[in-house]
Symmetry: C2
Subunit: 137 residues, 2 copies
């Protein structure tokens, strides 16, 4: 399941994607439109900025805007940024690989192969969902 954070991040990105290009959205504006606690959203937008998905303008009349094209922001990207691995176990993950501490021989693990298959399929599906595809209905 997605965490609230990821869900809020997606809703914020959707809001930004719906604005005119060059429009700069204040945090409070996004928070109200998308029903997100403002202080929590501040953190999320900072994370999105560090992930280079959004840009910001500081100071008075500042705010946030999409940095990447909405076609280039996928559900997989945002999931990885906030919730981490797509795979069901770290040992089956591409970007968050970690060995299982209780695993004697990874190549012998019956579970791992199946989980890699799942990861490949869900990843493909999640990469197919972009902010753009969500916005256009």
């Amino acid at each position: 399941m997605l965490s609230q954070k990821t869900k809020y991040a997606l809703k914020a990105l959707l809001y930004l994607a719906e604005q005119d290009v060059d429009h700069i959205s204040k945090t409070v504006e996004i928070a109200e439109a998308a029903s997100i606690p403002k202080k929590f959203l501040e953190q999320i937008l900072l994370d999105l900025k560090r992930g280079h998905f959004v840009g910001s303008k500081q100071g008075k009349f500042g705010g946030y805007y999409l940095l990447k094209s909405k076609n280039d922001i996928t559900l997989a990207d945002i999931h990885r940024l906030f919730d981490g691995a797509i795979a069901l176990l770290p040992c089956a993950s591409l970007n968050f690989y970690e060995r299982c501490s209780d695993c004697v021989d990874e190549s012998e693990c019956l579970l791992r192969h199946g989980l890699i298959t799942i990861r490949e399929e869900t990843l493909k599906a999640m990469q197919g969902i972009t902010i753009a595809s969500l916005v256009k209905k």
Copy 2:
């Protein structure tokens, strides 16, 4: 990601699937073979029993055995039993449906449609992975 509980449940089921039919496995035997804390495993096996995936024989020389065919136990089943919904949000779930509290109009929600697509695809993938398919390499 899978919880430890789900991972342990799968490992326990894999162990049971590898035994001869009619063989009854003691909890301690499974725990040692699959590196699972015994007391934790007891709970897990009880849950698997309540889910009708395994059966048990009580008393001396008792233990656990597969109740369903290993072809009929899917990753989706076990995920649902221990970790709940396959979908990324409750509002996109079949078996664990719940309305989002912050959602004004569900039919208008841009996120939900995409998440339903994802759920359909991951569910199909997870239903394709059975204990049998995992055991036979």
